[in-house]
Symmetry: C2
Subunit: 455 residues, 2 copies
């Protein structure tokens, strides 16, 4: 193709996806099902519908439909901030002196500041459609809570967020963004729930964990008339909604006849990576094309690269279904010096299964190397990346530097999931050279994994 | 025109402006010239070139060329974040139940988070081209300093920012963004300059002011080999660069055959408003079209609506040229409870002259009303607006509500200059009902104006 590639490839409104892509439909060996924590039997639609909105429960269980229509109301909302640009990183390429072509799909161009909004709006829509009064959720660093509060505001739904206490205190701005959009934000563990009261009693002064906040949010959802629980990652429904990222990316590349060689995404619970790679892995599963796909996780929370592929608890209170996933054990808590997101102990069961089938690779990186890449990227590309996203930047730069050695003009595509405006303490630590790395020992991981359910 | 109007009107790369528009060329009565503070004679190119980059000094004095080419390097940088979208505020219209069509030009889609980058990159470019080592500047709330640090990073120029001390301490995140982009940030008044040492001696414990930070930055620029001073608003060169906002806005409206009825922008020093309205006021000056144009300023710093049109000092140290402008007096400092930007005591001489010729209107609004509009806008349109921008939102909503009464389907266009991520303390104060309003008394303004130079 001789068509000159612009800095940003935008799709026209009419080129935007009208259907999400459900990668499970093309998987011969499906991801392992969610299990009832009491009976160890696969969760039924009825059981799931007690916790989740009914339509979302259906999506969670749907392994057969490759395409699921995006309701018009959601498409209209998407139009407010989508299509997101696929950016050719000309400046970064020049700075690195690499023959590689680097592209990034930028999902930070909305107030939530991250890709999380893509699923938040879908989940809020289905809650509204079901006639619910509101939803509950947890948030750690705050990206998901921010996105959900925006989505609920749009549909006039009540939104109760349980925010890990240390983040609630250390990230007051995130909290205030959620309040501005009308959400109630409660530090977790709180005194409002049984699990919260128990945690506060058992561990006085605890600053909370994501697993505990999940348990609190679920407890409130199932015990409050007209409420359901929603989650921003890990679940297959979330990866389904996030497929809009990958579908747009592929459409934009196709528009200019570009064939990706390497696709790179950061991976915590898997929402971004699962969405970004969806249509590409679909081609791979159908034998239509091949791509190198790399999941990048923090060395401090390395579920794919150092975890075990077993059934595990999803939360501290053990009220959620069990999921088979690459996991570090539900009691694993990344070192407090770990600066940004990607802190969940497990990985989406879809991605776990794809990884187990060796359809995707995984690598882990340390945070000082991540922030080095973040700063370098910001200075040439202008965008201040979220620490989460910067994991992908690190590996994209490394791959581009390999191309410099070999002289290969590979097409490297990575997901830039969001912006780092609320992570300036971490950037300051990097600038001040006070940031440190921490890699958990094998013993730590083994001790945490030992508490996984045995069956 | 029957063409359906999308949520966001994007221009193609080739539709982007290749020239800035210099509104002074079409003004029969020109803005009053900058004067040498010693001789009271118009500043010469030579004098201006001691403070500013030579090419920028030329632009400052250029009243004859209607169009000035945007150098290719700057256009290439613009392509990284421009064209910015012109958004049809469908959701806001629906919420208000107005027949009006509301459009906003969103300039917050870059890491600086505001329109300031449009001029920052131009100024950095000319500094680099002149072979300078670096530039100095001041920043208050931090939007300009952030933008300039990005621009300098791109061109590998040193960037010294004097940041008003209270902002330096209260807005550590802004400071860290600038450091991430490689700028040095010094709280003002500092002990590094004569004026800084004098202010610290005369007013022990002072938390600084914009006027003092300007004086410090100018002092360092003129006394350091290879440095010049740059400014983010007020100057005619800045309005010239910001005309890219208005040119894109007009091109996008024209593309869909939309004729604006009312154009609204917030006004501090005038950089955004002057840029947004440039091509429209040009048509007005040439008698080709008519528009209502409204400048919105804070009731706590009302230079157009309550100031006098006289020559005044631009800085505390009185080292800068004198400018004829609507001013509250250079010693005027808005109440400390004023939350967001737009704190400069004077107004761009171009806008002052247009206002004096009654080609634009002005109004002032109180901050609680501004944050009410900001919150309402965020909840339906998704974007979290900067307090500055929200002044324009307030008046756009008021105009749309008038249309609801009259049944008129007016086209209302306003400038959404940036995002409010770094203003969450103010949003929190609004949410907590602790935000208050303050309107200066006539006596306060008169006392400050009494110190303006007499001649």
């Amino acid at each position: 193709m001789s068509k000159e590639i612009p800095y940003k490839i935008y799709l026209e409104e009419q080129e935007m996806p009208k259907e999400w892509y459900n990668v499970r439909a093309d998987m011969k060996k499906k991801p392992a099902p969610l299990l009832n924590p009491g009976t160890h039997q696969p969760m039924t639609l009825e059981e799931l519908s007690g916790v989740f909105c009914e339509e979302l429960a259906k999506q969670e269980l749907n392994e057969t439909d490759a395409f699921i229509e995006i309701p018009e109301e959601i498409r209209n909302f998407y139009k407010m901030y989508r299509p997101s640009p696929l950016v050719r990183a000309y400046c970064l390429e020049k700075k690195l002196g690499t023959p590689a072509h680097i592209y990034y799909k930028f999902e930070g161009n909305n107030t939530s500041g991250s890709h999380k909004l893509n699923s938040a709006i879908a989940q809020a829509y289905y809650a509204k459609k079901q006639g619910l009064k509101g939803v509950t959720t947890e948030t750690g660093a705050g990206q998901w809570g921010t996105a959900l509060s925006m989505a609920c505001s749009y549909f006039d739904l009540d939104c109760k967020v349980y925010m890990v206490k240390c983040s609630y205190e250390q990230k007051p701005f995130r909290r205030e963004v959620m309040r501005t959009y009308g959400a109630s934000v409660t530090p977790s563990p709180s005194m409002e729930t049984n699990i919260g009261r128990k945690m506060n009693a058992d561990f006085p002064g605890t600053t909370g964990s994501l697993g505990c906040a999940i348990s609190e949010a679920v407890e409130v959802a199932v015990s409050t008339e007209g409420y359901r629980y929603v989650l921003g990652s890990v679940l297959s429904q979330v990866l389904l909604h996030q497929s809009v990222i990958g579908l747009e990316t592929k459409a934009a590349l196709d528009k200019y006849g570009i064939k990706a060689d390497v696709i790179i995404g950061c991976a915590g619970g898997g929402s971004n990576l699962g969405g970004l790679i969806a249509p590409f892995i679909g081609q791979k599963l159908r034998g239509e094309a091949d791509y190198r796909i790399i999941a990048v996780e923090p060395a401090s929370c390395p579920s794919l690269t150092r975890g075990s592929y077993v059934y595990d608890f999803c939360d501290t209170g053990m009220v959620c279904p069990l999921a088979k996933m690459y996991t570090l054990g539900s009691s694993f808590i990344p070192s407090a010096n770990h600066a940004g997101g990607l802190r969940y102990h497990g990985m989406s069961s879809v991605l776990s299964e794809l990884y187990d089938q060796k359809l995707i690779e995984a690598t882990s990186v340390e945070q000082t190397a991540v922030f080095e890449a973040a700063q370098q990227f910001a200075r040439v590309e202008g965008i201040l990346p979220a620490p989460e996203s910067s994991h992908a930047i690190r590996v994209a730069i490394d791959e581009a530097l390999k191309c410099k050695e070999t002289g290969e003009a590979k097409n490297i595509v990575f997901g830039l999931t969001g912006t780092g405006y609320f992570d300036m303490y971490a950037y300051a630590a990097y600038s001040d050279h006070t940031m440190t790395d921490y890699i958990p020992t094998d013993e730590e991981i083994a001790a945490s994994l030992a508490k996984a359910p045995k069956f």
